[in-house]
Symmetry: C2
Subunit: 700 residues, 2 copies
Amino acid sequence: MDLGWRVRLSPPDGLRSSLVSKLTDVPKRILIGRALRSDRLGETLLPKRVALPVFASDPLSSVAYAPGEVLLVLSIAGLSAYHFSPWIAAAVVVLMFTVVASYRQNVHAYPSGGGDYEVATTNLGPKAGLTVASALLVDYVLTVAVSISSGIENLGSAIPFVVENKVACAIGVIVLLTLMNLRGVKESGTLFAIPTYVFVAGVFLMIAWGAFRGVVLGDDMRAPTADFEIKPEHPGLAGFALIFLLLRAFSSGCAALTGVEAISNGVPAFRKPKSRNAATTLAMMGLLAVTMFCGIIGLAMATDVRMAENPAKDLIHDGAPLGPDYVQDPVISQVAEAVFGHGSLLFVVLAAATALVLFLAANTAYNGFPLLGSILAQDRYLPRQLHTRGDRLAFSNGIVLLAGAAGLLVWVYGADSTRLIQLYIVGVFVSFTLSQTGMVRHWNRLLATENDQAKRRHMIRSRAINTFGAFFTGLVLVVVLVTKFTHGAWVALLGMCIFYATMTAIRRHYDRVAEEIAAPDTPTDDSVRPSRVHSVVLISKIHRPTLRALAYARLMRSDTLEALSVNVDPDETRALREEWERRGIDVPLKVLDSPYREVTRPVIEYVKGLRHEAPRDVVSVIIPEYVVGHWYEHLLHNQSALRLKGRLLFTPGVMVTSVPYQLESSEAAKQRARRRQDWAAPGSVRRGPAERAKDSSTHT
Amino acid sequence: MDLGWRVRLSPPDGLRSSLVSKLTDVPKRILIGRALRSDRLGETLLPKRVALPVFASDPLSSVAYAPGEVLLVLSIAGLSAYHFSPWIAAAVVVLMFTVVASYRQNVHAYPSGGGDYEVATTNLGPKAGLTVASALLVDYVLTVAVSISSGIENLGSAIPFVVENKVACAIGVIVLLTLMNLRGVKESGTLFAIPTYVFVAGVFLMIAWGAFRGVVLGDDMRAPTADFEIKPEHPGLAGFALIFLLLRAFSSGCAALTGVEAISNGVPAFRKPKSRNAATTLAMMGLLAVTMFCGIIGLAMATDVRMAENPAKDLIHDGAPLGPDYVQDPVISQVAEAVFGHGSLLFVVLAAATALVLFLAANTAYNGFPLLGSILAQDRYLPRQLHTRGDRLAFSNGIVLLAGAAGLLVWVYGADSTRLIQLYIVGVFVSFTLSQTGMVRHWNRLLATENDQAKRRHMIRSRAINTFGAFFTGLVLVVVLVTKFTHGAWVALLGMCIFYATMTAIRRHYDRVAEEIAAPDTPTDDSVRPSRVHSVVLISKIHRPTLRALAYARLMRSDTLEALSVNVDPDETRALREEWERRGIDVPLKVLDSPYREVTRPVIEYVKGLRHEAPRDVVSVIIPEYVVGHWYEHLLHNQSALRLKGRLLFTPGVMVTSVPYQLESSEAAKQRARRRQDWAAPGSVRRGPAERAKDSSTHT
């Protein structure tokens, strides 16, 4: 019954996961919902095999750049340092397992799909929540910037042109994704599934084939950079300096963890049992990620990949540095070249798949960002209108903001994924740490009330996991901050501060207003108890719009009704008076004089006058308005009416009524408005139908 | 009594100079007018001695560049051609007298201050009128561009820096004037009087002193350029070519006539007897202009001023051309230098006065342009809102448009008055010719009905003058077109065409709409006879604004009243329902469901539903609105309300009522709006109080 008819509603729902209300209004919803949602009845929930690619494109794609980053950093200490890479890989694997294990707890605890923001807010209070939110917002921007830059680099390893015009192409892709999302994309599971599985399959085939060639056939596979020398920036690094370098390499490797949290937002999209399935998928995802990560590092070692932070001067070939023209291919494509052979079909396919998956990863940010925006708007940290989902305008703002910020970063950093990654990891770990800390609190709270021993044991276990998770991710956060702050992390932090400050200010404004307009329990306030209403219809000429306005005004049986005209031209006024007589209109016509030929002031004065005579009365000003279709027509009509309305709104005790008259040309605009409404907000797939979300929230 | 309390109204009044209405509503006007206009009671009408400078700054200032232009053109045929200049001066003088004589007739015939546009429209029909209007609009732009460029050049003769950064300085002055006029300048007669009289006195002193030195003392005064040679571009020009050149020189000299028509717009500003005073002032102005013009040409001859169109290559000194660095001072300053001596106090004072008068001349365009705009708007050739005078916004648009166009020209033509003047004269003579032709028609019309012989004789005389004026100015127009078309006149013509086309299009649009909305004589139309009204108050939360909206809605005793809320969040909705009960609000609350968490669509659907049930009924949608003070607050409020209103206006049979609730911050905006209203539209002085205009219109 009723499959996914509130799909777009779920996440904020999850936020306020209040079972009662949901159960109570289910029946009505089904009745009303059905009718409206018939267009989506076909939709189904995601089986694990589809859910995996849908959610994992982001985390899996990060293995396309993470291994390379590790080697890059190590190269600073020279080739010798490369032999540390297995250890660093191991550390990353441990971290990955920790994070995955921790998030499996989230998934069980918040099956409504509450993300880190919700976990932090509910358990650590709004400030922590807002910090996470800022971190996530920055993260979304960086996901786009990094993924696309890296995608371009991978594409470039197959198609040189692309990497020669890196920035242009990267911006191009951003524009493309932006337009797609502004138009409203109908996402489908398969859209994600195909490239993701091709990518995963490709990488595994590469690892397997590589291992087979190396071990069984004993081939000597050599990466294109194999016979380069590395000129170490700091040769013979040792002691603390070395440890620091290794830590930096490790925190670069942590890039592999970005996007792991995605699934925990998407539980509602899973088939039942949601939580278990989500948890399993999470585990699968982790397993795939680490295998690919280690596999690539392993192959990189086996094929003697050489990477340097500044390839131009630090990579030596035949005694001479390679110079600025040298383009350093990403490690994954170098390995692929070594294993499959340059220009081989498999090599090209893998490069393409990698790029595609990275672009998909970027695309996920395009629905995550506005979604989070709408959640924050609901909590009044952002303008309310962002909250009305499926509202194209609100969404577009978010999308454009995201694209703008990402584009700026790409442009500033020359679409260089290596430099962008320096900014990336901070935000991720801020939210990891706070979310895990929140989980610990969460379990403590439950434990305080829970008596069932089995459950308690279970909770204590979960708490232990989350505690470790919080501790470890926190540690990494410190490491990242220390090792990367000067390398660009400060930019990310700055971004977070800006978001934080803005959102706090907005929230403060809303609170102030809410306080100002709070309704008194005993309606003593005068403005709430007016006694009579005087209606005033503004008349310039006698034509259909004014006649309609008069007719409508008559229907509202107000205490007094008069027509009001401003005399800006004696002749026109006289003509008006005469026609008024001729037509025998039974509404008294009052003409205000206007020395300055203004319309606004005299009307305002008059209205104020009425109010002055009877302060407890209300004046209802009725304005006939043309409705036109084209922007330039707006310049030609209603201007004075609009200005007058604007001014009247400042006059207390007044209500302003527009009586529209639709000109033929208005049809055009009507159509436009319709089209805009029938627009599909992006990213519905990964949020899943909400009817399930409701059931699942019973787990809480 | 009642001095000038409708000052800003006069000109369009003049346009529709209908005596009756004005007399009928005078008493009421005085009553209401007084109150509003108390701030201007001090104002008085202009005596001739003040009127002259107020209106003559434009025409008089043109003698600062006209003489130079004559010499420039002649120089093409070599120094020998200089001896034609007296003849050309003579021709200009004759033309000046003709034009002045003709406009003296306008002044008598249209004492209401109707400009060329009115004369042409009423006598030659709208097309002619629109042509004149286009010509005048282009003219205003060029007045600014030419006057300021020339002013800069004159200033430059005293302060080299200015002329070295010609364009920058010119643009600077434009910006300054623009800001002044946007702020709203309180013009006063003296503001014009002082520099104008200083300028006139200076020039006359120069002429007198020059004559005295030359004739009595027999000094040999030599202009700084006196001992330059002129390399003629076309030496030994003869026959038709020579005549053509002389005609070109003549049409350049005609630049002296620009702005003569100004007085004919400003009759209402004169003391009684308005027309006679205006005519006298016109004559004085003409006399001054020609004397100064001839005097300067004469002195230029006497002091051997040498000017060339391309001074860089055509002026030879010691056998070598002067080269690009040479700056050619305007003739007036060269003469002043010769007469008073370089750097002498009088020289500097004159240069300053000249520049100042030229800037004043430019400033006159700043009130002429928007004024004409408002007149055209009244005739629906431009957006209506330009018609509401004293409306800062409308005015600002005109001012900014003018400044922009002038700035562009100055920039494109490098603030070179000589090149700009090529564009200038076309428009002037288009309006001269059409206006004079119109006058001929005017007299014919009157003569057809007039029987009093004395009057007839008078009219016939006037007609003769205007006929000659029309003929002569028409001839000059042809000459100007022929001799200057390729030199830039085509630009002016293009500008005129653009204005003409735009205004025709706008008029067509207004006419189409007027037709569409024309009220049927027998109100058969259904939409005009609705039967019942259903009021719907939109509720999101219960707070003061919504309570106020409810209270107001109750006052309007509509047939049905219900509160409408859209369920975007079940919890909020439940809370709303509960509070609704608790407060025992006696209005039924209906909650619409919104799967997509939209607000707009469900409401629209619901309203359409109501309409569908009873097509002849009207739905009144009442929306509580916050009124905030700052633009950024707008982003935080009312967005969905505004969007909803926008959509509702397209739904037939609906009226949309805003019930404003003024937040504290709204005070700020209120103040701003007030300030904007108490703004004084520029150029009131030259239009004169309208109460006098009314009397004077009795002459018609």
